[in-house]
Amino acid sequence: MSVMVGEGRAIWSLVRRNFHLIRRYLGWELVFGFYNVINTLTIGLIGFTMPAGPTRNRMVIYLAIGALLWNFLSILFQEVSNSVQWERWEGTIEYSFMAPIRRLTYLLGVCIWAVLYGMVRTLVVLVGVALFFHVSLKGADLPGAALVLLVSSVPFIGLGLMAAVLPLLSTERGAQATQVIQGVLLLVSGVYYPISALPHWIRWAAVLSPATYTLRAVRRAVLSGAPLHSLLGVSAGLLASGLILIPIGLAIFMVAERYAMRTGSLKRNG
């Protein structure tokens, strides 16, 4: 059996495992999905405080894009870090980490699942938004927006890998710490307001967040109809940042794993 086939089977087994877990917790999925739809609609409705007309239409789309994108990116981020958290709680992490696969393979399986799952969940919310708000998307460059969304997954996977270190180090407190990172990204990335609304002393953080560039580019595509070729630069930038963040995330993860193996903190008990 070639190494590639073996690693491919390992990736598939991770995706399939997460799918089975989602099926078992279907009730929770419905609750989360419902909440996501309502949350996005609530945020979009803020736009209805504007006078009727193109400005209102623009504002509703602006806010809905923020909510949808944040939904997708936060699912990506959470799925990657929760995957480790879940294994810690179940006590299976020693078995998963004892398997003869590269850590990159394990994390790749987790990330592929996260992207697929994030897309499905966001699509559900998008359908809810489309049915609720009858806003015009005339002139929007939707393929351009989709391209930006896709490449933005790459740097967010890198950030997710870094966040996954936290539940690896602490079963009890790791997940909460992940939420803190996510909260900071939400604050500084211009999800529901332009970066210019941020106080001066914190604006530098927006420059470091990949979500800032993703949101800006998707809004340009949808609201201003920016053509695909004008989005290639930012897409390449997002991809490049991902190609830097993923190895950094992987390296940090492996250092943390080594620390856990030195201190014996991989085990839950026994």
């Binding site: 073996g6 917790y25 398997a99 026994g270």
Partner: protein, 270 residues
């Protein structure tokens, strides 16, 4: 099921070689502010020839599980060396992981998933095709006396004994050349215990597998093991055949155990 047929293994090296291995942890008692060092394993050496069943017998907290975790590449030794078929567990982790598997005292699974789903995940990480794994699992679990309908039931609905049988199948399905069994029968009813013990003997007889088994159970050690090491406070107090230990210390393995760990039966009962 094919065990112990890795062509890359040098037939002349021992299945397991442990040389002066040490491991200490930092611990803090409840209410205390000071950390202190606890020596879990203090200079253990042993060679286990291919095909042998080595028993490690010791009281709670004596270092059995720490030693097994170091053999299983889950814990880094502070000093000394552990080699599996000549491969260092720290330097050649992936190579060693292809040769081993472990069954621990707590059968760690995704409790909401069925046995089938758990086995599909675990074997997938080892590159085993799912169809082969499920077919093999049915044979092993039938032999272990687990009704096959239990494969379709979430693990949380299985008894501890049944979960442990699935854990044994999980380990065997990856064709380990060295099996590390950490108290595999603890908490099992007498019938299940007997079935598991019989199966361990069968695996050794029918396949070229080497087995290291940690246990509290004197009868089990005597029944299964070619040699028994008695471990206390992180050290091997004795390492010999059950017959030699019995002959040297009062006629029973229990008497040898208490003589070597420096306690009487009455003290242990207290």
């Amino acid at each position: 099921m094919v065990l112990g047929c890795d062509p890359g293994i040098d037939p002349d090296v021992p299945a397991l070689s442990v040389v002066e291995v040490r491991k200490a942890f930092r611990e803090r008692e409840a209410g205390e502010r000071q950390w202190h060092q606890v020596d879990a394993v203090s200079g253990i050496s042993v060679d286990v020839p291919r095909g042998e069943i080595l028993g490690i017998l010791g009281p709670n907290g004596s270092g059995k599980s720490t030693l097994i975790r170091m053999m299983a590449t889950l814990l880094l030794p502070d000093a000394g060396r552990v080699e599996v078929f000549g491969f260092d567990v720290v330097k050649h982790q992936l190579r060693v992981r292809r040769l081993i598997n472990r069954v621990s005292v707590e059968a760690s699974f995704f409790k909401k998933l069925t046995a089938e789903e758990n086995l599909a995940y675990a074997t997938g990480l080892y590159g085993v095709p799912n169809r082969d794994a499920q077919k093999e699992a049915r044979q092993i679990l039938t032999r272990l006396g687990l009704p096959l309908k239990k494969l379709k039931v979430p693990l949380e609905q299985l008894s501890r004994g049944q979960q442990q049988k699935v854990a044994i199948a999980r380990a065997l399905l990856t064709s380990p050349t060295l099996m590390l069994l950490d108290e595999p029968t603890t908490g099992l009813d007498p019938k299940s215990k007997r079935e598991v013990q019989q199966f361990v003997l069968e695996v050794r007889e029918t396949h070229d597998a080497t087995i290291v088994i940690c246990t509290h159970d004197m009868e089990e050690a005597e029944r299964l093991c070619d040699r028994v090491a008695i471990i206390n406070r992180g050290r091997f107090e004795a390492l010999d055949t059950p017959q030699a230990l019995k002959a040297g210390y009062g006629g029973t393995l229990e008497a040898a155990f208490f003589a070597l760990i420096g306690e009487t039966l009455e003290e242990e009962a207290e």
